[in-house]
Symmetry: D2
Subunit: 354 residues, 4 copies
């Protein structure tokens, strides 16, 4: 209810502030008997980790996950998987300057108004550091979903767009560059632009496209818990996300029915896939694909006007080590949230079948 | 779990197929002591009702709601509000032709695969007729939220856009035309275009913009249940929706942080509102605004290829009485879902306060 | 949250007051493809119905259930099953005398204090008439559980006890008498006692024993949602219930471990069954059995002191048509709630299996 | 869903096996701004801790709780409170002898059948060590409930009963003896009996009575989530519990209505309190009291027949350091679970009020 859990049957609950002792979570409902691939989990963590390249934040966070329960002799036991990610490099003093002030387009102000109290150290609970727990759980969810393949990549940074449709994209190129854009030329443009932005102490937004393949027919619940509605919520719950569209998305709103309908082949597949792999909220076996919009990071390394708790506007020099553009590191987070949603529907779907 | 409930503290559960005896629902968690305005509920129903103008479906559905419980001497009692909406004009035979076939971009096929059985009469549970129950509950939620004002309007039909920002829109014009677009000239263009499309037996998509005013600071739960994430899910759960964006939305992904940040005024309001009234998932007291994309209705009054249950592609003449464009009638549905989300967070928020 | 739903995957939500237009409910999550036996549902309703014998209330309630959705051509479709039970014989005027007064050991007073308003007609939502909806849903849950056999019977009325253990009971005798006690001699004593009590305008309590057979191993979730914990909650949620014990129950608290442990047979069954078919919250395949205590009905047909809303104690003559002893009619309710609990765990259990 | 969470608005989720690295939990929904009394938390932990007296298990478990989030400068912040309790003295080898065998009346067998895999080290997740997390959360819940006073004590051990009603009990005596029975003479008898039982390598059951005072009117939700139904579930979820009764309990089932009804005083209190402080599932402001039955611990320090995974019955010598009687250490657990239930209803109740 208080918003720190996701999913119903495959359910992640997280805790932790950016500058507390540790973050962590509990995964409840993970099926028993899965031989966990810990390297795969670690690898997802590495993709999200700060300091992985010159275009992301240079904060030193080890992001080492410790599993405390629910796993025995390498296998899941069906009991809750508890884990923690210690905060090894909190540097609390970095944040003393914001103790009494509310940074623009941050959550400082609303937390203080909502709760009457605020952990002002670096964003506290509202920090994107919390997403590290999502990546851990998502990496396990992926292993529950073995055959289903979830792939995200950066499809735009600022005004620089990867113009090709996902069907023409070579997924093997995603991890070959720091931006995670699967096109050598576009990726280079994006990278250079991010470096430029960084030099200015500014930040820039971007979009991520996600493709889910090998989805069985039937995932998703009709009416309120449609598969795309839950995917949308999952994506919008990621820090900095401002929009979500799947299949034809906002373009679909400009089309005619005669153009938009996906005609069937005899095997139940469809000739086109403007539906984005989902009909009436239920997967139809075609690729699911969607696009997520991220706003520019609000923390600038520039002088900026902030509000303080004396109701004064004062100039403040932004400092710290922040991402100039969030999308490269958000790729594994998008995948993780997609995996959580699918794992949940995958388990729910089992209950309908004889 | 099975997807027919929405909300946690203010919770709507619905049932009903388009051609069953009745649809209906239960609203659980409505606070006691509210003197319900039944005219307001009826009026919302009228806005969604078929046959209200020449540009919407001419089906005759009375959409008369009967309240069965939870109200005593005109006031809510805190016990569940049960209601039904009888189906008075089912015309089941209209649908015998689709008994053994799956219409393109409908849910026919996935329902049959998911459940092994399908109520083939007119879409059954996947019909947008189900949204009538949402409108009933939303109309009650609005009364719980008394001071909060929720206003939706049509902002595009096909390629015809209302270009002005919502701040320049005169809300009092929304109900003055059949399209529900608050601009006389644009509305007329849209209306003419819809009529033209209808003549062709085709359909067209569109977008709806929704604005929420007078929102108290503090609604929304951080991390997974962010206010905009829940609004996104609510909107994406409406039939035909393909996308959701709030505040700067997809445009925000193209901006720089120095352009995007909303600087504070001394009273805690912000000079700009690219955040769309929400910071870190929590309302900040500024207007909330978002945009929802609807695809064109899939049912065409044209000959179309369908798949039958013998795995054959056959031509089929579409018939029936369908909407050429869904957005005019979807305006009250968008408002209703927004009201449900806000009522839920409004009640949750009470639990945090001393 | 507001307490009108039961279950998670097989989920019943109910509405309705004793003197409103109708009661009803929604069953969400019922698996698709079940050919419902409507006679079996009607038969369970008959067992709960007032007026079925001379020892129960003589109110005339038809208790005719109307199914409005979720069933097509006799089969469940996987969509929510909506149903109503019209109130055909409300006789509201019977209750005008309690409009301004709070009857002892009724919920009148606490409803008014909790909600600030109260539907004073015959107990409103707190009336046991609400259990009719549970019986409908339970009768469907039984059909989901086909092989599992749930049998309840009256094991005491006042000081008259059926002394034999359930293993020696002939279940076929339960429905042969009005008390639903499976022993001719004891049943007759109980029946005579209830008639005597009724003549005095008094009431008496009793207990019901319930036995669940053919339960697969593995139902129930460890830690908080133990199978017996949920059964306990389900029983304690029935009007007038004051206690619940399973297996050795309160007697077990007086025993030594060396007496209480159930030694295994080689096939995994146990030689004794003091555990009551549940170990660590999970069914072990042995019979589950438990006992439920019902207090005497609070409504007496005698003069009694009541509190009025002027804070005065006044004498009031009880009137109306009430049960002198609730247990005979509560037998199908106990079975229904047990069926709801088991159906839920049965579906949850499916999600753990490869 | 998988059973490791309790509560809805004040919600505890736990993880951990008896011999894993740590147990722990997340408390979500704790109101902000509470200055936590850490001594009070530690003191509750001490009451549950092994080794506290000669009549409880002599295992050495430090039970030191580490809070990792949700608390800032000594106050709750409204964000989730994550905590761990490291396992400092696992002694895994103690349990190698049960790796391939199922102890009678333990959960070994059903866990293996349910999940297909089992952490055989000392009961794993089914160990009562898990209750340490409940005590942490309960100690915080008590601080949320400040004015409400929850007091539990041992009311029987085997056949030795504390005969007086709770109203005549001097609560200040509870902690004066190792049994936690508030009567010097009875406590001594119980203590001697437990020592005797322990010498024999046997165990014995007992009961705990719990009294909740200063409860505001209105806690509890009608119909399915009645206050006593939730209390019953909470108690039955504690390891070894076989029964629950509140107010008149099983005795009430033997009474007549004319004896059982609680007549009102003019101030809304009642002259008697057979209802146990709850009417129709809602607190009426009178003391809530209930009784919980615990079976004897199943682990005996005797030779006993066990089933092995070759389907053979073999004799096995029980060993280890177990409690001869569980009730003295279960007193704080009963209080903790009562506190969790009340905190949840306390928060839910806020949402109904204007």
């Amino acid at each position: 209810m208080a918003g720190n859990s996701y999913g119903t049957l495959f359910r992640l609950t997280t805790f932790g502030e950016s500058h507390g002792e540790a973050l962590g979570g509990i995964i409840d409902g993970c099926p028993a008997g899965i031989s966990l691939n810990f390297d795969a989990i670690r690898s997802e963590m590495q993709r999200r980790k700060p300091g992985q390249s010159s275009i992301v934040t240079q904060r030193k966070e080890e992001d080492e996950v410790q599993f405390l329960s629910g796993i025995f002799e390498g296998k899941t036991t069906g009991t809750p998987i508890g884990f923690i990610i210690p905060n090894t490099n909190q540097k609390s003093d970095d944040y003393s300057h914001i103790k009494n002030s509310y940074r623009p387009s941050h959550a400082d102000y609303v937390y203080e108004k909502k709760y009457g109290v605020r952990d002002y150290r670096g964003g506290g609970r509202s920090s994107a550091r919390e997403t590290s727990c999502r990546v851990v759980a998502g990496a396990i969810a992926k292993q529950v979903l073995s055959d289903i393949k979830i792939t995200a990549f950066v499809s735009s940074v600022g005004e620089i767009f990867l113009e090709k449709p996902y069907q023409e994209v070579d997924f093997s190129l995603i991890e070959t560059n720091a931006v995670r854009c699967p096109d050598k030329v576009v990726a280079e443009k994006m990278e250079n632009y991010i470096k430029e932005i960084k030099k200015l102490g500014d930040t820039v937004g971007g979009t991520i496209t996600c493709v889910i393949q090998n989805v069985p027919i039937g995932l998703g619940e009709p009416v309120f818990d449609k598969l795309h509605a839950e995917l949308g919520k999952a994506m919008l719950s990621i820090n900095a996300v401002k929009g979500f569209e799947f299949g034809s998305g906002f373009c679909g709103a400009r089309m005619k029915g005669s153009e938009h309908n996906d005609l069937y082949n005899e095997d139940g597949t469809t000739k086109t896939n403007l539906s984005g792999g989902i009909q009436g909220g239920i997967s139809n076996g075609m690729d699911i694909y969607f696009r997520v919009a991220f706003k520019p990071v609000a923390t600038l390394i520039q002088k900026q006007e902030v509000l303080n708790n004396q109701n004064e506007i004062v100039a403040q020099q932004g400092k710290g080590r922040h991402d100039p553009c969030v999308v490269p590191r958000a790729v594994p987070i998008v995948e993780a949230m997609a995996a959580l949603v699918l794992a949940d529907f995958y388990l729910i779907n089992k209950t309908y079948q004889e």
